[in-house]
């Protein structure tokens, strides 16, 4: 059974139909990626799943609950954690306080154990734990955002554009860590603009074009040049 099932959702911004009849499935223990150009609607889909946007039609079933239209904090309580585009660290708080906020819903001593796990995964965060997040580099901020996400020990982690604006060497570093996280069995739904990277890191991919799913399939079986056509809306995908 799917952990997350998005069923035929529409999302409007005012009168503008941003997302049209999108359906997605995320099986437990897999990484699913959304591929698409700027403005295709990937972030809108992510924001709708985590409750920052409300769908105007359709259902979102997460772990047996229909979460469509619920508030973001209620959805987070069910075990769905999202790291939004642009990392959104708590700028004026220390690195450690940022991470502890990730485990906001976990009141017990368990938090300290998770903190150690995150520091083991990202030793740089341990070095900078008493610094304010605003002084971190772009890559470190992204690590902090991911670390904050796994501090909540979610059933599914949504990562929106974690490589945005980062140097290639830093991106490689972060994706290596993501593989490590994936090996623990954490389910993830990620958004990535780079087609090659997206296909290599994920088990299943959806290509989004102009607010619709235009192609989907196992990442290992998708043809990269066809995905590129779908990505840009050319060839068979031109209208």
């Amino acid at each position: 059974m799917s952990l997350l099932e998005v069923k035929n959702i529409d999302v409007h911004y005012g009168d503008f139909l941003a997302i049209q009849d999108v359906s997605l499935n995320v099986e437990p223990g897999t990484i699913v990626s959304l591929i698409g150009a700027n403005g295709a609607g990937k972030s809108t889909i992510m924001n709708t799943i985590c409750g920052l946007n409300k769908p105007t039609k359709g259902d979102i079933i997460f772990d047996g609950n229909n979460i469509a239209g619920k508030k973001a904090n209620q959805i987070a309580r069910l075990g769905l954690t999202m790291s939004p585009e642009g990392s959104h660290c708590f700028e004026k708080m220390t690195v450690q306080d940022n991470l502890l906020m990730g485990a906001y819903l976990e009141k017990g001593p368990e938090r300290m154990k998770r903190l150690e796990d995150v520091y083991r995964l990202f030793p740089i965060l341990n070095e900078k734990k008493n610094q304010q997040a605003t002084y971190l580099s772009g890559g470190q901020r992204q690590m902090l955002a991911i670390g904050r996400g796994i501090m909540s020990q979610p059933k599914i982690l949504l990562l929106d554009e974690i490589s945005l604006g980062l140097a290639p060497v830093v991106i490689n570093d972060i994706y290596d860590k993501l593989q490590e996280i994936a090996e623990t069995g954490l389910t993830m739904l990620i958004v990535e603009q780079n087609v090659t990277r997206s296909l290599s890191v994920s088990d299943y991919s959806y290509v989004i074009l102009e607010g619709k799913v235009v192609m989907e399939g196992k990442s290992s079986e998708l043809n990269e040049s066809e995905v590129n056509d779908a990505y840009f809306g050319i060839g068979d995908f031109a209208h």
């Binding site: 904090n73 959104h88 700028e91 906001y104």
Partner: protein
């Protein structure tokens, strides 16, 4: 001279008590609460009513006033301010302005325009009486209470999960929401705490100075001064701001006569604003 400085510092403690609630509300939700002074005076009247009508002593009356003001704070936040917070800072500011006018007139209707003073034994007692220096008990108590509340509040904000969630909400409400924080409730909780503290400030003010229904505006201006000098949202800045204002006022009165003491205090305020426009301890989130 020494007398002026000591009394000024102690008076500063009272002023910072008046300012804390306003500073926190601004620091956490970027809301300039124009009804702050009136809410405080409302707290003073509640203390007065409870102690007069039910015959409780001032401490118990204050506790009841704190509870009532916390409830009022929750209602104000949840049913008035939270409704317009998403629409920007100006609508929320106007809501508090309207609330200010409403409260001042409501109190005028209920309590009449007569001067009042919370009668207490402390007002006329001096803890230190020497030819060069005398320290009034009520000033000293105000100062001690202010320090305790500021230190306590700073500890709660820094060390507890609750304080962290308030800081996170003030920093990035969207991200806080994604971490599972009910941000509207966090704002309401912040307002409740601020109103509780403001009720204590109200009792301290009411037992030190006479008050009447329209006193709120006068204390709003003092709160503004304290918060602007200390830096919006900084707790210890609020204490320093209160002391600077208190000392400036009394030294100004000492040098130029008591008629112009508030003028001197606000000239100091303007000078500090000109030199450090963000206040001495500027921060927009709550920090030590």
């Amino acid at each position: 001279m020494l007398q002026c400085i000591i009394t000024g510092i102690l008076l500063g403690g009272l002023y910072s008590m008046i300012g804390i609630g306003m500073s926190l509300v601004f620091g956490i939700m970027k809301l300039t609460n124009l009804a702050h002074g009136d809410l405080m005076i409302l707290g003073t009247y509640i203390t007065m009513v409870v102690s007069n009508a039910l015959g409780f002593n001032l401490v118990i009356s204050t506790i009841i006033s704190v509870i009532v003001m916390c409830v009022i704070g929750f209602i104000v936040q949840q049913f008035l301010v939270n409704r317009v917070m998403d629409k920007g800072e100006a609508p929320a500011l106007l809501v508090t302005f309207g609330l200010s006018i409403f409260l001042a007139n409501l109190m005028l209707k209920i309590f009449s325009a007569d001067n009042q003073l919370l009668t207490n034994k402390m007002a006329s007692v001096n803890v230190i009486t020497t030819p060069v220096l005398s320290v009034s008990a009520s000033y000293l108590i105000s100062f001690i209470v202010a320090v305790i509340i500021i230190v306590g509040l700073a500890l709660v904000m820094q060390k507890t999960n609750f304080g962290r969630s308030i800081r996170a909400t003030s920093d990035d409400p969207m991200a806080a929401e994604l971490m599972g924080v009910n941000t509207k409730m966090a704002f309401a909780a912040a307002m409740v705490i601020c109103m509780g503290i403001t009720a204590v400030a109200g009792t301290l003010v009411g037992s030190t100075f006479t008050f009447y229904p329209s006193s709120g505006t006068q204390y709003l201006i003092i709160a503004f001064g304290v918060v602007v000098i200390g830096g919006m949202g900084s707790l210890f800045g609020t204490l320093i701001g209160g002391i600077v204002l208190g000392v400036a006022q009394l030294l100004g009165g000492f040098a130029f006569g008591s008629g112009v003491q508030m003028l001197i205090a606000y000239i100091v305020l303007l000078v500090i604003l000109a030199l450090r426009p963000n206040g001495l301890f500027a921060t927009s989130a709550v920090r030590k």
